[in-house]
Amino acid sequence: MTGIVQNLWLVPALPILAAGAIALAKQRNRIFAASLAIGSMTLSFFLSLCAFAHVLWLSHHGEQELQVVNFRWFQFGNEWLRLGWMLNPLTAVMLLMVTFVGLLIFIYSIGYMAHEENFTRFFCFLALFAGAMLGVVIANSLLLLFMCWELVGLTSYLLIGFWYHNPKAAAAAKKAFIVTRIGDLAFFLGMAWLYAQTGTLLFYDNGAGCLEHTALASLVAQTTILGLTASTGIALLIFCGAAGKSGQVPLHVWLPDAMEGPTPVSALIHAATMVAAGVFLIARIYPLMSAHTGMALPLTPTVALQVVTWVGAITAVFGAMIAVAHYDIKRILAYSTISQLGYMMMGLGVGGVAVGMFHLLTHAFFKALLFLGAGSVIHGCSGEQDIRRMGGLRRLMPITFATYAVGMLALCGFPLFFSGFWSKDAILHAAHTWSVSQVPFYLGAFGALLTAFYMTRQIYYVFGGTSRLAGASHASSHASTTPHESAAVMTIPLLILASFAMLLGLIGTPAWPWLQAFLDGQPTALHFSAFANAELLAVMLSSSLLVFLGLGLGWWFYGRKPMEDSPKADAMPDAVEQLQPRIFAVLNHSFYVDELYAATLLRLNAGWGHVCDWLDRWVWNGAVQTVAHLALGLAWADDFVDTRIVNAGFDEGCQGVSRGGKILALLQGGQVQSYLRRIGFALIALAVFLLWGAKG
């Protein structure tokens, strides 16, 4: 059985190889591309099943569940940089989820993308994404994880911008990459810091890894700026990366825009897997997040975990509030995803790995289901995404409706029969017992109410009443067709996901907390008596009541009287808008965060660029030009001195000499007569002088 650990690298490698092969293949080979991608994903899924079985076997036999394989990558100085992969319960469940949901979405994509010109490229990127994501999951080195993490970001960028000819998609892709990169750069620094402090980036390495006791003990012993321990500083920097990827406030702005990508991409990358990678990262480095002096209690709220909790709780409510006031079916789900990711973070902060991961797993299934359902709706409505122009799809698309309703109830946390109930309840329960503050619990509870409300609103808009599609006044050519149910290749994945959205909750109920025990490496047993806990029941009951309240309010606002089919469907004010137009406007503009960033950060950024350019042109270059001009001026002065003073003086001198010469030359005319004449004159003068002198 250890063979599976040795060969675990195949799980990410197979899709990546498939992507490479598809990239080199001809664009026309559609069947080749799809079958290669799906085939590689199927193999990865089976390998993941084997890995899962292996971990189960190990845990059943009470053996060490953590298996690592490390290898050398390159050498610098005397040391080798080593990378590696690992198999532990967390890896195993995550692998299973990613490969399974991924496989379903790959299959669904055949139907959804059937008419797409760049079908092969789509599957190439999708397979590359899956490989990179699986790499994140199995990495036993923060560096390898970071590398795969960046590749995941790249594929996300490529797939958001898949319809590159649409400027909005291109802009959204760029925005997604850059916003997540802001977080990633903090992550990068945190990684450099961790490496400097512990001398390794391997998570587990027979006691020498950075998540093992020796390293953590040295990290908590050091105090750095602001009185934070090194472990807290590093953990917070890495959390910035997680927050960027997982759409936490204030780095959430890219996720709604990412909905410009094809819907299967939204389902796989921006709902089920990649955005959850941030949550997974925090779960992976949980020993670091929770490291503190003493390390006795596993759930001590360290500074890092408190930050995670607060950010998560604020994000949960923030996303849910905005989701109330949007009209684009995918954007509503995107804000819902942001909100749910907030819950996961909060779950990690207050309740530990199992609580956060449980919600991650259930959410992956029901949110993928909702997105694929939304895709089916959009497909059926020939590309329409505005819920105001839908309606009445319940009868036209029965399978989509049924599965969508399941996903919606799971997301709302409808009691007992839906997975979301159990996972959300675990978070709320942990928040309720959190020792630091009760506020996250109340925020979470309020978010639960809002979730039920906005999903009910969406359901009534999309599936209730009668179809408003035909009457939509914007009358683009596609609006005239009647909505239709999607093909089996799309509905079957929906049905499978729907069944998981209901049943998956069973692995983490208080009576049989299998997932919790599995992740912690402990045996489980069925204890119905767990429900006898009064506090647990109180939290369950109150959260159920909130869900019912939310559903009821949704019905009161949107379901009571069917929506009219008016030609101006999109001009009709929303029911909440009628009641509170100002609040609705703020929510509809997503709290103006984008506008705020555009007015501040983006301007600052561009302004700083112009400042640098200006410095370059005028200050640095100006200094150089000044020196150059000074030199030129000197040269001119030199030239002046040369030509006007030295040269002219020289010329003057020369001319003087030549004038003198000319005069002297007159004396030497070479004519004997004139010589004789001068001699004669001289003799006379001399004679006169002598005579004068003799007389005197």
């Binding site: 390159f74 590749l151 998609a169 760029k174 990169r181 450099a192 400097a196 200094a623």
Partner: protein, 522 residues
């Protein structure tokens, strides 16, 4: 085999090539042009082959100088012909040998005075080989200065509309730096009677160099420290202009953008490494102590180099200017690593390991930047060829529709420049940041803004040139031809190879790097 003067032969090959190509004469017939191109290409491949041969026979386990040749030249002046290569030298030779054929291919469409153009390129290559192998200041400096001549004429005769001022500024600016450098070395020669880099480094490490200089040049007003710093400043200026480092960089954007793109490839791919090579071969071993005294201002300058140039790139509209600023930015990371290594750590073992990391990163980054920047400018050249010389950011749009392969391959090169893991740019930057962070924490942390701005302008290029609606002017723009694809394949392949398996290069440079770090004594 050692006895055979491999390095001299290697330097002689492009010189011979230059003469042969020049001998073709100025007849403008098509046959003549192709003959010149082909012959030049053949000589550059011969040089590449020789370099690969040296690479193959280079002993990576030793950090010492290999393939050394020494012969007495002007004994009275301490001038010796001495050449040799260590890990740094062989890496730079390989980079030059790779970049020159790229530059030639990108210059294929040049039509005027073709033999002269290619012979100047070969001459430049010979100067580069000479600079990267010489170990005596005398002939090192000859090659160093001589390299300006072909570069000047390449810009001046074949450049863009503002080529004259660009070429003049390039020549004069670097000349000023070189004169400062020359003065510094003359001062040192007066004091020591030596021009040999290795000997001088030895003196500097024993702490004998600067006292000797101060004794000879005991200017009464200056303290010995000041004299030493002034000598250092002269040498520093020569290299800081060449790299370049803010604020001595203003010649670069105009030179890079006005030069014909094939020449820009040589300037950025190979010539920009001369400055860094000087830092590593001359400044670090000989002036390490002086540099360390002014380390803090140097670190601020390097942060300015990294951040200002990246942000300046953000607002440029000309692709070549963008990549020019990006080039300054990428070399800034190398300087960051070099300066971080100078941090005094008192022989702390863990921090010495960080220095090894940073220094390996610097060398790797030099190679990677040369490869990536050369390839990026190559793409610009191909784009210019298709657009009739246009290369503004706003001149295109939606090109991915008509030239998907071009967009895909250039995308790979762009992401390599951005430092995406899996491609070559990442490993060098990772090692530099990993090593510099504990040594120069704040400078490293601030440099991250350079990485951010790089991501923004690279994605901006992808967005404006390749995405969005297709600019109708270019509806018929042809995609890469099979020939172009084949020519690009090795460069792109190398990006992947170095990104996935950097050990291929690191194995060759590691011993040299360790020796360089160990020899740093203050």
């Amino acid at each position: 085999m050692i006895a055979f003067p491999w390095i001299t032969v290697l330097t002689a090959v492009p010189i011979a090539g230059a003469l042969v190509v020049l001998g073709i004469g100025g007849s403008a017939s098509e046959r003549n042009k192709n003959l010149a191109r082909g012959l030049a290409m053949a000589f550059s491949f011969l040089a590449l082959g020789l370099t690969l041969f040296l690479w193959h026979h280079f002993n990576p386990a030793s950090g010492a100088l290999q393939f050394q040749e020494r012969s007495s030249w002007i004994p009275a002046l301490g001038v010796e012909y001495r050449v040799g290569i260590d890990g740094l030298g062989i890496l730079m030779l390989l980079l030059t040998s790779i970049v020159v054929p790229i530059g030639m291919l990108a210059s294929w469409q040049i039509q005027e005075r073709v033999p002269l153009y290619f012979s100047l390129v070969l001459l430049l290559q010979a100067c580069l080989f000479g600079t990267f192998t010489a170990l005596n200041f005398f002939h090192w400096f000859i090659f160093w200065e001589l390299s300006l001549i072909p570069a000047f004429f390449l810009i001046k005769l074949w450049g863009g509309p503002r080529r004259t001022s660009a070429a003049t500024q390039f020549l004069v600016y670097t000349m000023v730096g070189s004169i400062a450098l020359l003065l510094a070395f003359l001062a040192i020669f007066l004091a020591t009677g030596k021009f040999d880099f290795i000997d001088l480094a030895g003196l500097a490490q024993n702490g004998q160099l600067m006292p000797a200089v101060v004794r000879t040049l005991g200017w009464h007003r200056f303290t010995p420290e000041h004299v030493a710093l002034m000598i250092f400043a002269g040498a520093f200026l020569g290299f800081a202009v060449k790299v370049p480092m803010v604020p001595f960089h203003t010649w670069l954007p105009s030179a890079y953008s006005e030069a014909p793109t094939g020449t820009t490839i040589l300037l950025t791919g190979a010539m920009s490494k001369m400055g860094l090579y000087g830092f590593l071969r001359i400044l670090l071993p000989i002036f390490g102590a002086e540099m360390q005294q002014v380390l803090t201002p140097l670190l601020w300058l390097v942060v300015a180099t990294i951040v200002l140039s990246a942000y300046a790139a953000l607002v440029q509209k000309d692709l070549k200017r963008i990549f020019a600023y990006s080039s300054i930015n990428h070399l800034g990371y190398c300087l960051l690593g070099i300066f971080a290594v100078l941090k005094f750590t008192g022989g702390d073992v863990a921090l010495t390991a960080e220095k090894y990391a940073a220094m390996n990163g610097v060398l790797l980054q030099m190679f990677n930047h040369g490869l990536t920047a050369a390839t990026l400018f190559w793409f610009v050249a191909m784009l210019e060829k298709r657009s009739g010389g246009l290369r503004g950011l706003e001149d295109f749009g939606g090109l991915r529709k008509v030239m998907p392969v071009f967009a895909g391959l250039m995308g790979i090169a762009l992401f390599s420049s951005l430092g995406l893991p899996g491609l070559n740019g990442f490993v060098g930057e990772f090692l530099i940041f990993k090593g510099s962070f504990p040594l120069a924490t704040w400078a490293t942390a601030l440099s991250v803004f350079g990485l951010l701005a790089t991501a923004i302008f690279i994605l901006g290029i992808l967005q404006r040139v390749f995405s969005g609606a297709l600019n109708k002017t270019w509806a018929a723009m042809p995609d890469l031809t099979t020939g172009e694809r084949l020519a690009l394949a090795p460069a792109i392949g190398l990006m992947f190879a170095l990104g996935l398996y950097p050990q291929w290069v690191l194995a060759v440079i590691n011993s040299t790097v360790m020796q360089m770090v160990q020899q740093l004594k203050f």
